[in-house]
């Protein structure tokens, strides 16, 4: 098991490297000039050149890449062009909101979606099944920013229950923390909920038709027992898989949600950085995202052994 983990982590190195090189060359080829943004509207072209030079943006591609790369190996993600702050510091500042948003989204959507999927599978073919699945498809088919605006309008402006925007650290208190996050997590979670509910229903249907479930039923195990103990446990593997894959979707959705609800998270940091061509920040964030993604999927693989003892590493 330990050897497996080590092997998996080592296997991520080429992936992360590939991502790094890919993103770096992508940005290198992209037009857009941070120096022009910094210099402002009134600057002369000569001034812009001077700034570009002082930022080291006039050096050739490979020099820049390896310079950055060796620093990263040494644990240094570089310094933002615009803020002059270390990229690692900027990322650290923004991890809490994004991670909180994602965890809450996951919790919310899993705790709604799995019962929905189970019920739909249990009542397969009935009106309940149809209704649940239609709700799920609706969640799928509306852009999350539209949902976000609707939620904010309803619960913040009309009912005045929750704040419209912002983020409160959990260190301030659980209640203010949740009050700020509940709307964005719902807006973001609807898509995810739809996805998981569908997968749950599908796998449950599959599992319910298996022999051992029929045996369990025949043995007189109660309905709830069959559903939640026997069937769900076996359906867990694909559900966990989809959570792992869906993680990337979640990050994408977080970008929009963070903009709508003014949450100071990583998604907004990245979009701002891309629009301004703040190269070191983009590099650092993408590197970190791909690393997290790989880790999450490693975690998913390890969870398999919990749900399905037949799987061993």
């Amino acid at each position: 098991m330990f050897a497996y983990i080590v092997r998996r982590i080592l296997a991520t190195v080429p992936v992360v490297l590939l991502v790094a090189l890919f993103v770096f060359s992508l940005l290198y080829l992209a037009p857009g000039d941070p120096a022009a943004i910094i210099a402002g509207d009134q600057a002369s072209p000569a001034d812009v050149d001077r700034i570009r030079e002082s930022l080291g943006l006039d050096r050739p591609f490979l020099v820049r890449f390896f310079d950055w790369f060796f620093h990263v190996i040494g644990g240094d993600l570089g310094v933002s062009i615009f803020t002059n702050l270390p990229v690692s510091h900027m990322i650290a500042q923004r991890i809490e909101p994004t991670v909180s948003l994602m965890l809450l989204t996951l919790t919310l959507s899993l705790s709604c979606a799995i019962p929905m999927g189970v019920i739909a599978a249990w009542k397969h073919g009935t009106i309940i099944d149809r209704a649940v699945m239609m709700t799920a498809v609706f969640g799928f088919s509306t852009p999350s920013f539209v949902i976000g605006y609707l939620l904010a309008y309803l619960f913040a402006l009309q009912l005045d229950w929750l704040p419209v925007q912002g983020f409160t650290s959990i260190s301030v208190g659980l209640i203010p923390f949740l009050r700020n996050l509940i709307l964005p997590a719902t807006a973001l979670g609807l898509v995810f909920m739809a996805l998981i509910a569908r997968i749950t229903r599908a796998t449950m249907l599959d599992v319910l038709s298996q022999d051992y479930v029929r045996t369990a039923k025949a043995k007189g195990v109660g309905q709830r027992g069959v559903l939640f103990v026997h069937a769900l446990k076996n359906a867990a593997v694909p559900i966990v898989t989809i959570v792992g894959i869906g993680f990337a979707t979640l990050i994408g959705g977080a970008i929009v949600t963070e903009s709508v609800f003014a949450i100071p998270g990583l998604g907004r940091l990245t979009v701002d950085a891309i629009l301004r061509r703040d190269y070191p920040v983009i590099q650092g964030v993408v590197l970190m995202f791909s690393f997290i993604y790989v880790l999450v999927n490693l975690g998913v693989d390890l969870l398999y052994t919990v749900f399905d003892p037949r799987i061993r590493y």
Binding site: D33, I38, S54, Y149, D160, A262, R268
Partner: protein, 530 residues
């Protein structure tokens, strides 16, 4: 710990926990929560010329002179000055008791170093002074002197200018930074200290009161007079989504929003606890910027065709919206309602729009349907709205538009290219100029028509340059006005650029906040909150 002690502690804990919200509320009245116009991504007001950086810097750093609402420079850090009759020797004395946030006094050598860094980066006035400079010296700790080799009468305007980059006074060790590199320490002598460790670029910036700040005795007026801040803490919350910012203000989560969307203003006005007013009386002038180097717009007839067809009403409707009190058409280049405003030569921008005549002029200029490269920064709403109107306009006068959607950073890069449009250059882009920078030709870099030395688009007209010099030479207001009338006509005839109208913006705040004034920048002093 026995059980009784434990209970006592627990009770005390519960009480303090219950009391906590009240404490928080009490502190709340001393905090001002502000949504700035844009993200505060860095804080070097010399290195970058973004207005939002200047606005933050105004809290941290003090200036030698500050303008009042008539844009007249008034002494701020300076106690007195002395100028020789030939306007070549300028001597200044700092007022006593000025201190930086690190406790060090402000000395002449700090001022000299700050001026040296600023001069390199200020194209409109700093570089003019630098060219004439024989020596800039610290006479003693409170006195410094300029010795020039040519007269310069606008020295006080230069030291107190509010257009970017402003002359902020920094400690010598910070001001010694290469002007093209960013400073990393934000220590000033202004009324507020910047809390760098609490700064989350793109989300939040915190300023706290500087206890040792010694405001001037006079009443504050824009950047002049005593800068008395009534808050222990000013929080800048960056809210990227306009709709969300409006909702936050309605919900009382922020106190003051610098730039509400005009379309949302009717909604905010209906709200009992929100007040709305014009933000900046000097407003902005929209710009249709033409590249003079390439056909068809290297022919003046093609440029005039744009003037004849362009409807400022359309642009202003798209940029600001239906609220007609916010904008006006201007057949001129200078800020309306300021002394030098002129409409001479602006006839082509008035009256009914004539697409047929425009088409005819374009044909005369030799236009045969070549693609016109229009750069549009779609992430900035003012430029995007103008770009959309222009695309429609060009189509109406039979031009073949290549609408190039970019972000502002890329427009900034692309517009510097002089190559033909087909080879990565451009024909048209849009921007806007702050009205405060368009009151006279000195800070008005966009009106310069010096060819290679002109701003992007590189218009070249000796007549325009001659008239600008005539304004500098004018000795009284009448003379200045005459020069400006002729300049306006020359620039209109040559079509240096096409103004798309004059527009103002709103600002909005909670009604429990008072003392917010109209200015081209947010003025935090004398604002109170109950």
């Amino acid at each position: 710990m026995d059980r009784r002690d434990f209970l006592k502690t627990a009770a005390a804990g519960a009480v303090s926990a219950l009391a906590a919200p009240n404490l928080a509320r009490a502190a709340g009245s001393s905090v001002l929560r502000f949504i700035p116009q844009a993200n505060l991504a860095n804080l070097d007001p010399i290195w970058t010329t973004q207005y939002v950086v200047r606005n933050g810097a105004l809290l941290i750093w003090d200036m030698l002179y500050g303008v009042n609402e008539k844009l007249e420079p008034q002494p701020q850090m300076v106690e007195s000055h002395d100028v020789s009759a030939d306007f070549k020797t300028w001597t200044f004395k700092l007022r006593p008791g000025l201190k930086f946030h690190d406790g060090e006094p402000v000395r002449s050598k700090d001022v000299v170093a700050s001026i040296a860094r600023w001069m390199v980066r200020d194209a409109t006035m700093g570089q003019v002074i630098k060219k004439r400079l024989d020596a800039l010296e610290a006479v003693d700790d409170r006195v410094f002197r300029f010795r020039l080799n040519a007269p310069y009468s606008k020295m006080l305007f230069a030291l107190g200018k509010s257009s970017t980059p402003c002359l902020f006074i920094m400690p010598e060790r910070i001001a010694a930074t290469d002007p093209f590199k960013q400073i990393s320490e934000y220590v000033g002598s202004g009324p507020m200290r910047f809390m760098k460790d609490q700064w989350v670029p793109g989300a939040k910036a915190i300023f706290e009161r500087f206890a040792d700040y010694a405001p001037r005795a006079e009443k504050a007026n824009w950047l002049s007079g005593g800068k008395r801040v009534n808050f222990d803490r000013i929080e800048w919350n960056i809210v990227p989504d306009g709709a969300t910012a409006a909702a936050a203000l309605e919900n009382g989560e922020v106190d003051w929003w610098e730039t509400p969307l005009p379309d949302l203003v009717p909604l905010l006005k209906k709200h009992a606890n929100v007040a709305v007013d014009i933000a900046d009386p000097l407003g902005n002038i929209g710009s249709f910027r033409i590249n003079h180097l390439h056909p068809p717009f290297n022919d003046v007839r093609a440029r005039q065709a744009i003037q004849i067809a362009l409807s400022q009403e359309d642009y202003m409707g798209a940029v600001v919206g239906s609220d007609e009190t916010l904008w006006k058409t201007i057949p001129g280049y200078f800020t309306p309602d300021t002394p030098l405003y002129s409409e001479v030569g602006g006839e082509r921008l008035k009256g009914k729009r004539d697409y047929e005549l425009a088409k005819k002029l374009l044909a005369e200029a030799g236009y045969k349907g070549e693609p016109i490269v229009l750069l549009v920064a779609t992430d900035v709403s003012i430029t995007k709205a103008q770009g959309d109107v222009t695309a429609d306009l060009l189509k109406r006068i039979g031009m073949n538009v290549e609408y190039t959607a970019l972000d502002w950073g890329t427009v900034g890069q692309r517009r510097a290219k002089k190559e033909p449009p087909a080879q990565g250059g451009w024909n048209i882009f849009h921007t806007w100029h702050a009205g405060a920078d368009c009151v006279n030709p000195a800070p008005y870099i966009a009106l310069n028509a010096g060819g290679d030395t002109a701003w992007f688009g590189w218009p070249k007209s000796d007549l325009v340059q001659e008239k600008i010099d005539a304004w500098y030479a004018a000795s009284d207001l009448a003379g200045e006005k005459k020069a400006i009338d002729e300049l306006n006509k020359a620039a209109m005839d040559h079509v240096v650029y096409v103004p798309t109208g004059f527009f103002k913006g709103y600002q909005a705040w909670r009604t429990n906040v008072s003392g917010i004034v109209k200015a081209p920048f947010p003025v935090f002093w004398d604002v109170t909150k109950t």
